[in-house]
């Protein structure tokens, strides 16, 4: 039988009047889409290989290239879309699991786009952020139930001993991306940017590269199920420790870094033999109950002399609320909840698109329950999973997050165009690859600047929105649902989010 090829996703349109055959695109495409014919001095392309990363389009000195979606496809069908037909064709061809990268791209409702913010008028004046100081500082860690003060000769001092806190200049941090899924240059950009911004980045499950120890004060080191790169220096290197139980993009399953991507440097950092697959098992094989988790949390605190906050990262799943409650009681200093839109370097497509729940519900429900149980101050809550703008962030904080983790946005700032081919290791932007020819393309000097720009821009917007709401401190917004209203949501959804509908009075 004739085998139908996998449909071509993108067409590379080349303007013949503008193409000067400089061959920059030919040289730079890691998927060998562009081909130069020396006899005719013409550049042509093999569209079937194009992944739509737009690198050639960006570099072309005469703007001769446009990447277009291939419209030539199957008869429009809401159920049997081109994507579905393509997937079935691939599986019939290979018998394998379809992999993908980045976060869920299905058109589930994005609840951020159905939540509206308030602004102050007349009765409660707004604040001008250019005239009044705006406090964006946050402290992540366990807060005491009450504090005692010492009064002595007119001076007030804090008597209660506080648990270790992480100080954030703004309530945004860079979420976990392992060295192995991303290049060292990308890690370096995140590390240095965090250092210069006064926030934190997360090592992910790949361990900490020796060249990045110098940014330890701005590093949250992660202990994942594979325990890659975990040794005493690693524990002492960071400012906080995070136990990774799950990840929003692929809850319930582990991770897999193929042997071809385990280079000498990765082997050294992860402490595994070069060329072997790095498999993170689904559960931590020493955590089978909440008591086991508590044991690990305190083992880590002991190992680091109680100097560092220890947090736990979980994926947002159906019973995220009781899980979070258990973790709060188990002695964690913070809980990071990763929603279904969270990104990944490689995951089975069917799991990425079908497992987990949106972070909007998860954070609202967990915040509400912890308050109900009177243990909200035991932990800080960090929300993660597809934050696209300062608007999303401020809504997350209003729903109950103390701070947010962003990762996909950070990578987009570094050039990522969401082609979802991270698992091939051929990222043209030098982000999701270990190929030394490709990793050169991410210049950390430029990367740091772009990340700083992004966070700075968002901080300014957050200040504007806070001022607009008549608030001058993020503290006052955390969990303050009165500033939110829903639009186009069902009653049940409004109830879970804990917000009123737009138009309802105070």
């Amino acid at each position: 039988m004739a085998k139908r090829p996998i449909p071509t996703e993108f067409i590379v349109e080349r303007d013949k009047d503008k193409c000067i055959a400089c061959q920059v695109c030919v040289r730079m495409c890691s998927n060998d889409v562009h081909i130069y014919d020396a006899d005719t001095n013409i550049v042509t392309n093999d569209n079937s290989k194009c992944v739509g990363c737009h690198f050639c389009e960006t570099l072309c000195p005469t703007d001769a290239i446009t990447i277009k979606k291939n419209e030539s496809s199957f008869k429009p069908n809401a159920n049997w879309s081109a994507s579905v037909i393509s997937d079935i064709t691939k599986q019939a061809e290979t018998g394998g699991v379809i992999l993908t990268g980045m976060g869920c791209d299905k058109p589930y409702t994005i609840y951020w786009d159905h939540i509206l913010l308030n602004a102050s008028q007349v009765t409660n004046p707004s604040i001008d952020p250019l005239r009044e100081p705006m406090e964006l500082r946050r402290y992540i860690g366990r807060k005491p139930d009450k504090i005692e003060l010492n009064y002595n000769k007119g001076k007030i001092k804090l008597k209660t001993k506080l648990e270790k806190q992480l100080k954030l200049a703004v309530p945004i941090m860079f979420s976990a991306m392992s060295y192995g899924s991303i290049s060292l240059n990308t890690c370096a950009s995140l590390a240095k940017a965090s250092h210069e911004l006064g926030i934190f980045y997360n090592t992910g499950e790949g361990g900490l590269h020796k060249s990045l120890y110098k940014y330890g004060k701005n590093t949250i080191i992660q202990i994942a199920s594979g325990r890659f790169g975990v040794h005493p220096d690693y524990l002492k290197a960071g400012a906080a420790i995070e136990i990774k139980i799950g990840q929003g993009a692929k809850p319930g399953i582990g991770g897999h870094l193929p042997g071809e991507k385990v280079s000498e440097e990765i082997s050294e950092t992860r402490m595994i033999p070069e060329g072997t697959d790095a498999i993170s098992p689904a559960p931590h094989h020493d955590i089978y109950s909440i008591e086991d988790l508590r044991q690990l949390i305190y083992a880590l605190k002991e190992a680091t002399d109680y100097e560092k906050p220890v947090g736990v990262k979980i994926a947002a799943v159906h019973n995220v609320v009781p899980i979070a409650s258990g973790i709060a009681r188990a002695g964690a200093d913070y809980i990071a909840i990763d929603g279904m839109r969270g990104g990944t370097g490689a995951a089975p497509k069917v799991i990425r698109d079908n497992v987990g729940i949106p972070i909007e519900f998860a954070i609202a429900a967990v915040d509400a329950r912890l308050r109900e149980e009177g243990i909200r101050t035991n932990v800080s809550l960090i929300a993660a999973g597809g934050f696209r703008s300062s608007g999303d962030i401020i809504k997350a904080i209003a729903l109950g997050a103390d701070a947010v983790y962003v990762a996909t946005s950070a990578l987009i700032a570094l050039g990522c165009s969401q082609c979802q081919k991270c698992y091939t290791g051929k990222c043209n932007w030098g982000i999701a690859t270990q190929d030394p020819y490709l990793t050169k393309r991410l210049n950390p000097e430029i990367g740091v600047q772009r990340l700083k720009n992004l966070i700075r821009a968002w901080s300014l917007e957050i200040k504007d929105m806070l001022g607009g709401m008549g608030i001058n401190s993020i503290d006052s917004l955390c969990g303050n649902r009165t500033h939110l209203r829903g639009i186009g949501l069902l009653d049940r959804e409004l109830e879970i989010l804990g917000i009123k509908s737009a138009g309802e009075p105070q």
């Binding site: 730079m28 570099l59 050169k440």
Partner: protein, 148 residues
């Protein structure tokens, strides 16, 4: 004195620097006209060397002790007093290629568009920043004051 510093770590080997160098030294300075109508195109004065994944772009270093200045028998090679750059006066050059013979970096070439003239980096005299530096997409070329 400003010189071009090359950072091998971040050169991608795209050769956009070569493209812009050619355009800058062309008759029209227009990229489409240069590539489609000018024949032969001017030589690029910056050359990207490649070996495996190591790439970098190399051009005239405007050396303190320039061998080409000693070797030039027509006085065409001279040092610009203001910038300290080593330049070639094309009106005086006769194409004897003594400079090519003595340049240890091999960054001087025979100009394809003008008969028998030596072609080399002139720091884009007249521009505030050389075009290779301005157009490098990964900032692998920097225009900086030399340390001495």
């Amino acid at each position: 004195m400003k010189r071009i510093r090359i950072d091998e770590k971040y050169c991608m080997g795209c050769r956009l620097c070569e493209v812009h160098c050619i355009v800058q030294h062309s008759k029209t300075k227009n990229i489409l006209k240069t590539y489609m109508e000018e024949y032969p195109k001017p030589a690029t004065r910056i050359l990207v060397e490649e070996k495996g994944y190591v790439t970098f772009a190399l051009q005239c270093r405007h050396c303190e002790d320039a061998p080409c200045l000693d070797a030039c028998m027509t006085g065409a090679m001279y040092r610009d007093k203001k910038t300290g750059a080593v330049l070639c006066n094309e009106d005086k050059c006769v194409g004897c290629w003594m400079c090519i013979m003595t340049c240890p970096f091999g960054v001087i070439s025979r100009s394809p568009d003008k008969k028998s003239i030596a072609s080399k980096c002139d720091l884009c005299m007249g521009e505030d920043v050389p075009v290779c530096v301005k157009n490098c997409p990964n900032e692998a070329l920097k225009y900086e004051d030399s340390k001495d």
